[in-house]
Structures are given as C-alpha cells and as structure tokens.
Amino acid sequence: MSRWNNGTAADRKYVVRTMAFTVPYVAVNVAAIFGAFDEIIGKPAAWVLAAAVAAPVLGWIWSILSLMRDSDEFMRALLAKRFIISAGLAMAIASFWGFGESYAGAPHLQTWLIFPLFWACMALMTPLIRTSR
C-alpha cells in the first residue's frame, strides 16, 4: 500500500495493472483448488487452464516494463538492476535445485515455482539495492 499512498502516478498505475493480473490468477487457482476444473485434469483441455493461469505472468512482466517506461531515470535504473539481479538469482536457485534433482535425488518441485521465487528475490533485493551504480 505504500507504493499507492506515497508513490508517483506511475507507481499507482503499476498497482492497478498488477492487481488486474493478480485477481484472475488468484481466482483461477482458488477455483482449481476447490475442484472447479477436476473434470478436465489430465485431458487436452487442461492445457487451456495451464495457459490461463500462466498468462498473468506475462502481464506482470509487462507491468514492470511499463513502470520502468513511466518512471524517471533513477527509478528506471533501480528497477532494472533489481529485476536483472532477481531474475539471475531465481534462475541460479532453480538450476541448483534442478541439478540437485538430477544428481542428488532432491525431491521434485513444480517449475511454476520459478515465478514466486523471482518475486521473493525481488522482495529480498529491493531494500538492498538503493543505488543506480
């Protein structure tokens, strides 16, 4: 909420855009958890469900790119640094775990976890990256 209350017009647009993608993502997942799509699980139609749940990921990335476009040069540089470092960290952790599965018998994790992992890395990096250098 601080981004909404204390942020710029670009920040508030970002919140609206992000929520526009978060609400359907949560709604479809909650519906799936409560069995709304049980009849199509394992059938070709389930690919439509998978695409519907994955589509907001593209929307979130677009929201971040739009925020970068609408922000001033300092905020743009900060966002770019945070995004690149968080994406790199998420890929490194996912690769580590994937090779752990291949070579060390680590339990299998769902690949969709990469996106929540990316956001966890963003949350971790945001307070640490305060300079554009």
Partner: protein, 66 residues
C-alpha cells in the same frame, strides 16, 4: 558524482519534492543525486544547469578533469 545540488536547493528554500517537480523527476531521484547514489544522465544534468542558471561543471564535479 560529487555535486552542489543540495546547497543550491537549500539556498532557494526548495524541498526535494519541489525540485523534483521542477525537473520532472521523483523526490527519490533528487535525494539519490544529492547523496551521490545516482549519476545523472547528460539530459538531466543540463536540465538542472538550466534551472539553476549555472554551467553543468559548476554544479557537478567533473571526475575526469585533471
């Protein structure tokens, strides 16, 4: 990059928010410039120079000057 931005702003009695509005950037950007956490683009440096009616090098120290 070392600069006299805070001094010039305070001399005029402006807040970071007011300076940011005059330059078309956020308060955070002004703070980052003043605390040397951001080196301005050439475009922003020129905008600052025009606003304070001074040459760029009178506001920002040229790190490459001998």
């Amino acid at each position: 990059m070392k600069n006299r931005l805070k001094l010039l702003r305070v001399e005029r009695g402006w807040t970071q928010e007011q300076l940011g509005q005059a330059l078309g950037v956020s308060r955070q950007a002004v703070n980052a410039l003043e605390t040397e956490k951001h080196d301005p683009s050439l475009d922003l440096a020129y905008r600052i120079a025009v606003l304070f009616d001074q040459p760029v090098e009178a506001i920002f120290e040229n790190p490459h000057a001998g």
